[in-house]
């Protein structure tokens, strides 16, 4: 048994891994990789140039706007001591003392009732979602994240806990459907 164990891996080593690759795969690998890199670099350069152009245009516009923005301030406004002025003005401070507490409490209770019934009403009118409710950006995101590249087997493996048969159709529904259609005709059509 021990001898078998020792020999099995030694014998297998001769036959290798069993992996192979397309014919000539390594022949043009350098050219392929470097040309991909070159294309990416050119694209990046193009994008950078575009970004620089947009930045410079924006800067120019902002410069123009900044120089002539159309707002005015009272004469000698910046010469006055702003800090002293704001501190000197008297501001009415509203305190949350016991005297006002009752008023605030009643407002808070009324607001929470409104919120509670409002949400309940809103949820009660919630409609059933379907495919048309999917936003375009959600679909784009699905494609961008490369989730679209999964085949049906991979999706089935990922969602193995979902019982499609029971969730979608009952046995009676399937039997009724099969009774209604002419299978032979379907086969002939296809």
């Amino acid at each position: 048994m021990n001898k078998d164990r020792k020999n099995i891996l030694d014998n297998l080593k001769e036959s290798g891994t069993g992996f192979n690759h397309p014919k000539g795969y390594f022949d043009d690998f350098e050219t392929r990789l470097l040309s991909d890199l070159d294309q990416n670099a050119q694209f990046k350069k193009h994008i950078e140039t575009e970004a620089e152009w947009v930045d410079s245009r924006e800067a120019k516009h902002l410069d123009l706007i900044g120089k002539n923005h159309g707002f005015k301030v009272p004469e000698n406004y910046f010469e006055k001591d702003l800090g002293t002025k704001s501190m000197a003005g008297s501001t009415k401070i509203i305190s949350l003392s016991r005297k006002n507490a009752g008023k605030w409490l009643s407002i808070a209770v009324a607001a929470s009732f409104l919120l509670f019934f409002g949400l309940k009403f809103y949820n009660g009118n919630e409609k059933q979602l379907d495919f048309t409710d999917l936003k375009n950006d959600e679909i784009e995101n699905w494609i961008d994240e490369d989730l679209i590249s999964f085949n049906s087997y991979e999706i089935a493996e990922a969602f193995s806990n979902v019982d499609l048969e029971n969730d979608l159709y009952s046995d009676e529904e399937v039997t009724d459907y099969l009774d209604q259609i002419d299978i032979e005709q379907l086969i002939l059509d296809d």
């Binding site: 297998l12 992996f19 192979n20 390594f26 350098e30 991979e154």
Partner: protein, 180 residues
Amino acid sequence: MLEEEVLIERLKDPVTREASYRTLISTHKERLYWHIRKIVLSHEDADDVLQNTFIKVFRHIEGFNGDSKLYSWMYRIATNESISFLNKKAKHLHVDMETLQAQRVNHLKADVYFDGDEIQLKLQKAIISLPQKQQLVFNMKYFDDLKYEEISEILDTSVGALKASYHHARKKIELFLLNE
């Protein structure tokens, strides 16, 4: 070693960079490909990961300080790229790494770029039954014939720990092949 130093200098110099990239790719592409292939298993994925590995090498060559050998550094990048590739796949599919690897080995039977027989397929099944690090050590020692010192540089693990790891891996695989 001197040759390697010269190559690194040339890779860092914009004038000689492209020709040096070609030299670097030609010298290491096959070894790195087979190292990656044994981790990700499919040819298409190995091709993607190999390209990403070289792109990472080019991007970070300025920061390469020569503490380790160039090929050990590249092997390390290739290993990290392969494992992070598998992790991303597993995350996308909402499965753990073990399940993903089992699925990938099962697909080998239908893979046109795998012409192994039953025992070679069984060997791949045995390898993926090992913990991740033992898989790497086993592949590098058994198939690539790397020295423990070289594996130690790549995986940043002591030679003693690697010897123990390879010994355990070998034993488990032998048992798997005889019992399964």
